[in-house]
Symmetry: C2
Subunit: 239 residues, 2 copies
Amino acid sequence: MDTRKHIEVCFTPGEYDYYKDEYEIVVVIDVLRATSAICAAFAHGVKSIIPVATIEEASEYQAKGFLVGAERKGQIVEGFDFGNSPYSYMKEELKGQDVVLSTTNGTKALDIAKDAEIVVVGSLLNLQCLSEWLEVQDKNVLCLCSGWQDKFNLEDTICAGAICEYLLGSGKFQSDEDSSIAAKYLYLSAKDNYFGYLKSSSHRRRLKNLNLNEDIKYCLTPNQHDVIPILRNGKLVQI
Amino acid sequence: MDTRKHIEVCFTPGEYDYYKDEYEIVVVIDVLRATSAICAAFAHGVKSIIPVATIEEASEYQAKGFLVGAERKGQIVEGFDFGNSPYSYMKEELKGQDVVLSTTNGTKALDIAKDAEIVVVGSLLNLQCLSEWLEVQDKNVLCLCSGWQDKFNLEDTICAGAICEYLLGSGKFQSDEDSSIAAKYLYLSAKDNYFGYLKSSSHRRRLKNLNLNEDIKYCLTPNQHDVIPILRNGKLVQI
């Protein structure tokens, strides 16, 4: 009997229902930019992040005095403290704070996955550290890509493919789904030059139009932070 | 202004709603095996194919005296004349006939796409012939992959990627969606050896277990037939 655990990939939150019940760990990925911003925040001393799916919830927290980030379609929502630029989360005033975050795709994916046994946050920034941790958990792992407005996106898939490649290489994991195989292939073509590979990616182009090149470079530079954000009682904290 | 038309890829029928309204032509793809069987049928003289989504509809046609193919999960449904093996559609008795077909994924995708202006059937078997035809239509094209039980599959995506590569190469088309870019990348890695590339594909493995290796080889051998099945008044006919 094959006792290896599964590492699989779900391309969009909309498909999560077809996958969910077989995995103890869900890794939520939104490379540009929500889960990258979350990793950056913990690396720079933020105490916790409360992900909320809607702007209404974000406003309620703001009314209670929380620092609140809210982003839709790549831009800061009017009236909020910041969006989902990783650089916004490196400020001195955020150290030790509980921060609230609502984004177009990433926090929705966190919301959809919240009933899984373990929900962690993945990005290229914490790729190595997260993969090593996943390797020793002895649990089935699903990478849930946040996508872009319910559609497939390339950068989340490549990040998921990198996690697949690492865990399959350990010999402790197997992949059955075609989505996982495709993610791995896409990662292998992309790994030597994320920036070049993703230059035609729709979301990257969209952010470029918003002059967010610095953010993109930061988010596509792997292994900058040894952090693993994990969801506990509705709050992301460091593991 | 960029006047090029769009060639894009939708990975699963479940995501079709996010794409549909912008494309005049939808190419329905189910390489293993529905749309391959449909191409084989027309190449061997079948007059028309009536795709039906449910077994109930298939039974109603059978009661009226039609020859009916019905497949679920790779096997012929009990009581029907054949399943979706391309070889079933090469028989003398089917020449000139109207045939009814219901399959796990492919005919569902045809059903979902039926309100598009033009619906045609794609497979590796008619790749070149279909691509050349699409090139001169001056319309936006969406490749709708049938997937496997609502999930992504590799062989349909690679076929869609081949169509993208051809049309983008003509200079008359552009792709914006990340799914289209990924499909093209996957096709480029696969094109020299479909069989080897797809050896780890879940659906291929599933068919192999059912001893359908001959079917798989046939379906993965490109450009065997110069046919373009098109949907007209609920019936597939040759263009």
